[in-house]
Subunit: 397 residues, 2 copies
């Protein structure tokens, strides 16, 4: 028989990145296509110890149903930590624990957007977010990501057009895929626009703590005085993605709707790992762990940047101060997708820029390279191979 699906889902294809990830399970392929943390980013020994402790002392509680807003102590610890470190949150805000940062994006789309509403987003942007918005029939209106962040003139043009805007979606710090960071001035100006046009901002910030040089500007949420920002955070990049623990900090009325939506989605986030993470935050120094991870990632970033200099002649690379990705731009007229096809023949994987476009019918001269997962040796070797692919493409072979 044939099956009929809901309109909202009918046109949604599996993300190109995840399809490429499957291909890269071939161990002979050097992959710059992932978005995964390195294994050293997971405090495995500490998790081993805490897991044993937790099961011995509170196994029955940790394996039982929990509440939809998340494990109380972890909510409090997370709130206190992001307040202390980034000035996030005021007396009108609440926090919900979610099944990874992705769930914040999906639940926000669900509670804020009616079908046909517009989401203003960056182009290129994180495809997992774009697909979450598409899955509720939201219309994506992309604006370019300039050196200093979103093109705010383009944002205002859409806001002034009179179309109903559900929210503005941005990854202001070490953006995925470009690695770019929005300037402080633009953060303030974006908030002004949000107030002027009475819209909310969904600030997606999984990379904030992966900072390799000077500290980035404060989160938009920390500058917000009028309750317009939903902040999506994650423990995936600094602790473990496999456990699926993230959070949203937002004004209480928004959190209350997110809780209702969370309840019907998966009841609550994995309680065992919520409790384990809470114990970790109590007993260990997460900041110290993150410093170690950042030192290692900076080395890898630098190796990749130096290799790009040597091998990717003709390509313009970003030089991000943090995060997990470099972004390359081919000279005008060349297609990132063609480059990635040539590269995969040479057994090196990168993600074509077209995978990150709000408008999927467009092409992109860009491509994304991940430096957190490959070893330094793989980076050296893979970049040389990628350089051959670039040379082949540019000389029109």
């Amino acid at each position: 028989m044939t099956y009929t699906f809901a309109n909202r889902i009918g046109s949604l294809a599996p993300s190109a990145i995840r399809e490429i990830l499957k291909v890269t399970q071939d161990p002979s392929v050097i992959s710059f296509a992932a978005g995964n943390p390195a294994a050293f980013a997971f405090p495995v020994a500490e998790i081993e110890e805490l897991s044993a402790e937790l099961l011995a002392s509170s196994g029955a509680e940790a394996l039982q149903y929990g509440v939809s807003e998340g494990y109380g102590p972890l909510r409090e610890q997370t709130k206190a930590r992001i307040k202390r470190k980034f000035g996030l949150g005021n007396e009108n805000d609440q926090l919900i624990i979610t099944s990874g940062g992705q769930q914040v994006l999906e639940l926000s789309a669900k509670v804020l957007g009616n079908e046909g509403d517009v989401v203003i987003c960056e182009t290129p942007s994180f495809v997992g977010a774009l697909n979450a918005f598409r899955s509720y029939g939201l219309q994506l209106a992309g604006v370019p990501v300039l050196e200093d962040g979103m093109d705010l003139e383009a944002v205002e043009k859409i806001l002034a057009s009179g179309r109903r805007v559900a929210f503005i979606y941005t990854i202001p710090t070490y953006q995925n895929p470009t690695g770019r960071t929005m300037s402080l001035a633009k953060r303030q100006r974006l908030l002004e626009l949000a107030e002027k046009y009475n819209v909310l901002i969904l600030e997606d910030s999984p990379y904030l703590e992966l900072s390799y040089e000077e500290a980035p500007p404060p989160p938009i949420k920390a500058l917000d005085r009028s309750g317009r920002v939903i902040y999506a955070g994650s423990y995936s990049k600094v602790f473990s993605p496999g456990i699926r623990v993230g959070f949203a900090l937002a004004p209480a009325p928004v959190i209350s709707k997110l809780i209702v939506a969370k309840q019907v989605s998966d009841v609550h986030t994995n309680l065992f790992f919520s409790m384990l993470l809470s114990k970790y935050l109590e007993k260990y120094d997460l900041d110290k762990h993150i410093s170690f991870v950042c030192r290692e990632y900076r080395k890898k970033r630098d190796v990749m940047l130096a290799a790009a200099e040597r091998h990717l002649s003709g390509v313009t690379m970003t030089r991000p101060g943090g995060g997990l990705f470099l972004w390359g731009e081919l000279p005008p007229g060349y297609d990132g997708f063609e480059l990635c096809k040539l590269a995969s023949e040479k057994k090196v994987a990168a993600v074509p820029g077209s995978a990150f476009l709000p408008d999927e019918t467009q092409t992109s001269g860009g491509f994304r390279l991940n430096f957190s997962l490959p070893t330094e040796e793989q980076i050296e070797k893979g970049m040389a191979l990628l350089g051959q692919a670039v040379a082949d493409l540019l000389k029109g072979r």
Copy 2:
């Protein structure tokens, strides 16, 4: 400022059950309001051992990102197990691992229903499912749950009405909240109706393995020859709910859409516990564990039934062959909500039948009692208190 929410979520209130559950955190209250397994249903010692093993041998893998369809070995083991035990699945079916059984319901609503479409469901039914459907703007059309399951004449009337039906939702085995089980004849007839009117059936089956007497009829999915059934299963009731691991078995085209929706929802299910559960299934005998749990639950059920006999004069109780719940019906004209209010004054908690109604404006003379979580002593004491509340209500105090 004031916030505007999407239509689909605006009217959705937090589930009455979960609100009541919070009240029952008062330790002096005897709660029959939960749906939680007993602590002895979690194989804590085995989980402790496997957790240590898993972290030592494959920590970096278990804490890393996984694929959206779920951990491969667990998918295969689950498929093989439900085929062997219940005849579930054929060559056209696939399986996805989900964040609990709840996520199957939410994702199914998302991929199958357009706003305004009808879901035919039982009345009363599981409120978590009803709210998941409501959260996509689906219209609930309830049909009574008779002694032998859904009123199929009422089902056919709706199907014949010409309204667009997204799917039929049923909990055929040890239904929540009534404890009733659909007869084999009705299962077959329901499939015939689904074929005649070309609709899908969402079979929610979290209690199938909690069977205390003769085996229930085969799942509807096991009788399905034409690919019309999505089967929602769960490890929550037989292993642990806190780890949030469930699954859907369905025709491949449906699973493929569920995977896409899962990807944008939470990327993938907790990988650590997917791997741990896989190891458990390899090394231990889940069936033996379930037999032990069922023996204990049967005792509790019998204690509650006997206490109902002694104390709840005037109430008609179901006598379910499995599951977690008894269902009581007050004499005509009395309201289950009034009973539950009186009961809570006496420090015993039950869930009023109105919480389970597709049409929330209706009242119900029913109430739901859980026997898995309270101890036998609590059951004895709580039922005596509940009996006083019933007597007070019936003599019109």
